[in-house]
């Protein structure tokens, strides 16, 4: 693709520094092979040693230490063969110092004493060189966190052979059907810890498994993707079967005119659109007047059937139960039956705006404040099949692609359909259509939802994973048609 806003580079982790749109999970994962039976990348004792050393070396008034360790492995295939196959392991030690009301951060991936002393000194020196910060609060002491289960040993133990064997079955399926498969199978482990000189020590471990596949069939294509902490929930064969079927059914697409259509959006299509709303729920964004909710809190702008929470404790969600400053994350009702009700607050934002922190702060120092990273939409009971059956004329969308914001306040997004776009007529899918460009306001869209499917953990390519339903939406604006 092309220039991207900072994205889901580790959906959670990147966003912990800056509200990023998304980037491939920088993850953590365990490289394969002999070491794969070990539970964690770095033993807890090593984390504690690093924190202890930094706190010893630091001469700042207050010191915060964040240590992240990851192993990640990704098997990539295209043209029915594995063409890239990678593994990485790394550690990051990040130190924030507070000196005379000023704060700054320095980080390294070297963990010897000399390097740890140097990074502690660098953070202090940087802090001294800037003007005092207005809203700096004392660092947190010890906190209590609600436990979340995010670590699955089987995911951490996956080997390159495990991934290659699954890929082999998928590419054999494609070859047998004279189709071409491309995709990835990745697994990883990440550990993160946060400590302060005031006594806070927070730790979190999680695993991640992801399978994504595209089937090409002449001039058509189909796609499917899943992402879970537990690898046993990933079924590469079923995903391949779905992508294969979509590719086959997408053959010989016809061109129909652009215009406003009823659309049935599968969960990945919904995810990649509504994911663009996440930073709008930050109190700092509203205060800066760059959120689409500026002046709209408490007003009914979406349909009665739209309710949204941020909820890290939802079993389909991922991530640690604490924020970038160590504040316990709270479940926050963001939108209640169409009405934006609440925002999320970092500690500093909450103090400035006379509110309570919600546990959504990003790592300091930053200019963004906070962000909800665990959006959960209320689902409904209408299956995709029922949505199709109830549609006289509409478009069934598998996924969207290259979505970018055109207007931040009306929240107009543009992008393309991709990998399976179908015409629905008189309650049935009647064939494939050429891909559309859309220009659609999210505010209008969420006021025009006619039916919702059950909320599921969806994985797309433009937003980090969230819990969203399929949606049937009226008057969706397709503005132009492309060549395929």
């Amino acid at each position: 693709m092309a220039p991207r806003k900072a994205t889901k580079r580790t959906a959670k982790k990147a966003a912990a520094r800056k509200p990023a749109r998304k980037s491939a999970p920088k993850a953590a994962v365990r490289a394969a092979g002999a070491a794969s039976a070990a539970r964690y990348v770095v033993p807890r004792a090593e984390f504690e040693r690093i924190v202890e050393r930094i706190l010893k070396f630091s001469r700042a008034e207050e010191t915060e230490v964040a240590v992240d360790a990851t192993t990640d492995a990704l098997t990539r295939f295209a043209n029915n063969t594995i063409h890239q196959n990678v593994a990485e392991q790394g550690i990051s030690v990040s130190v924030r110092a507070v000196v005379d009301g000023r704060t700054a951060r320095a980080s390294t991936n070297k963990t010897d004493d000399e390097s740890l002393a140097r990074v502690a000194r660098a953070a202090e020196d940087l802090a001294r060189l800037q003007p005092p910060s207005k809203n700096l609060l004392p660092m947190l002491g010890r906190q209590k966190y609600e436990p979340v289960r995010r670590f699955y040993p089987a995911t951490g133990a996956a080997t390159p052979q495990d991934r290659a064997r699954a890929v082999k079955r998928v590419v054999d399926l494609a070859a047998g059907r004279e189709q071409i498969a491309a995709g990835i199978f990745s697994t990883g482990v990440s550990q993160t810890s946060l400590a302060t000189s005031s006594g806070l020590f927070a730790c979190h471990e999680q695993t991640r498994a992801e399978f994504s596949v595209t089937f090409l069939d002449g001039d058509s294509s189909g796609w499917a993707k899943a992402n879970f902490g537990d690898i046993s929930l990933i079924d590469p064969d079923a995903l391949a079967e779905s992508a294969s079927r979509k590719a086959r059914e997408s053959r010989q697409p016809t061109e129909i005119p652009a215009g406003r259509y009823t659309v049935i959006l599968e969960p990945p299509a919904v995810l990649d659109l509504v994911g663009f709303l996440f930073y709008d729920f930050a109190a700092t964004a509203v205060d800066d007047k760059r959120s689409c909710f500026t002046g709209r809190i408490g007003k009914k702008i979406f349909g009665e059937n739209i309710t949204i929470w941020d909820d890290v404790y939802n079993p389909l969600q991922a991530g640690p139960p604490f924020d970038g400053e160590g504040v316990p994350r709270q479940k926050v009702l963001l939108v209640d039956r169409g009405v934006p009700k609440n925002l999320v607050y970092a500690r500093g934002t909450a103090k400035r705006l006379k509110a309570k922190p919600t546990g959504h702060g990003l790592s300091l120092p930053n200019e963004w404040g906070e962000a909800p990273l665990n959006l959960v939409f209320a689902g409904g009971k209408t299956s995709t099949e029922e949505m199709i059956a109830s549609t006289e004329k509409g478009i069934l969308v598998t996924r969207f692609w290259y979505i970018r914001e055109v207007d931040p306040y009306q929240k107009i997004l543009t992008g393309m359909t991709r990998d399976g776009t179908f015409l629905v007529e008189n309650g049935k899918v009647t064939g494939a259509v050429k891909n559309f460009r859309f220009n659609q306001s999210m505010i209008e869209m969420l006021a025009s939802v006619e039916a919702l499917g059950p909320a599921v953990r969806a994985a797309g390519e433009e937003s980090f994973e969230m819990v969203v339903p399929a949606m049937k939406v009226r008057n969706f604006h397709f503005s132009e048609v492309t060549k395929f």
Binding site: M1, R4, S23, A78, L129, S133, T159, K289, R290, R437
Partner: protein, 486 residues
Amino acid sequence: MMEDWANLALDTAVARGATYADVRVIDLRQRELSTKNGQVGTLVESESLGLGVRVVANGAWGFASTDRLTKQGIEKCAAEAVAIARASALAKLHDVVLAPEQTYVDTWQSPFVRDPFRIPVDRQIGLLLEADAEMRKVAGVTIAETGMVFRRLEQWFASTSGSRIHQLKMQSGAGIVASSFAEDELQKRSYPNSFGGQHALRGYELVEELDLVGNARRVAEEAVALHTAPQCPEGVRTILLDSSQMGLQIHESIGHPIELDRVLGMEANFAGTSFLTLEKLNKLRYASDHVTVVADARLEHGPGLGTFGYDDEGVPAQSTDIIRDGRFKGYLTNRETAASVGEKRSNGTMRAESWNRLPIIRMTNISLLPGSWKLDDLIADTDDGIYMETNRSWSIDDRRYHFQFGTEIGWEIKGGKKTRMLKNPSYSGITTEFWNSCDAICSRDYWTLWGTPNCGKGQPMQTMGTGHGASPARFRNVRVGIAFSR
């Protein structure tokens, strides 16, 4: 020490059965600073040192990386790369074949005058706060933002073919943005470009030349003025694009489709494929006769984000014709894809984000060569058109046919004169139709080598800087305004 690490990794890989291996040891240092409304936002320094090993074993690829730079850590990493390659061979259709390349023992450094890491941070922050304050002097500005980013990347490359290459790249970038919210509308202006401003393989002298403070008030005033400007009309029009928007137009509708890995289906699951299928080489009329585009990674092209001495598989920087007088002439290749399409040699485009990523085909400096027009003459020659400046939104389909761009500001051209300001400009089109409608390009005097620092590609995702040289240009019969069509 770096060479010792690289040699240890190579020796281990070969001992484990690799038939080819290359190693990159990278020492990266970065500084990021930003302000918002008079307060320091980000103030971070980071360093990262690590090693990545790429191998062929059993005829298939494997790659592993580590920051545990001990004998044991490096040996384990290299062994793991070989084990991964053997796993790749479980789903192999044919053995990896690489186009031949000479071996090189060399050192290369990007030139810079002032090391940005030796400039005191308080001085850098002071400059940003000054620009920030200048923007906020304009009534109606709701957010003033500024930023600088510096990267120093030192790299040692070694391969079992015998190459030993040391490179040092210094990169600087800076920019400012004024935003204004009023009456249900958020408008913004950036200088000298969106995407964090201008970025180049240069030192702090780049920041000093930009004159952020001197441009702060103008962009702030324009951001506020946009609220009262009329909406860009919808219809089919003549448009002129400024050189920064031309840079992104080149990036999206020429730079990506010419990546041979995309053309060959290797990116089908994520970034997509390309309409530039192999039979189109040397046959397709990509653009009008006015258009010549090169992929040039050599320093003589300029200090772009796609400039280097050698790529990340040890191939020297080259200049390749992409479009010559409108005809499609070349792809971006690496050693593997070059061999697969019968080319004698890679044209040197393999790059990785850091030590923990596999090199993949990336744009170097994909640049439109200048024409002969003066900008004032081009405007005077345009009876009815819209001049669009500075990218605001961008999107293109996964085969790179259909695009839509929005820019921050537009100017109506009537009777050969730039007249009133227009807000929310946008335009869309089909790649080849658009480039064939180009009828004028401004001269070298208006040509800038823009740095795009945030190009995403690959799985796992890699962010890479690319360069795009361009001057303002004119296009006929372009659809405008559709992004805001109701």
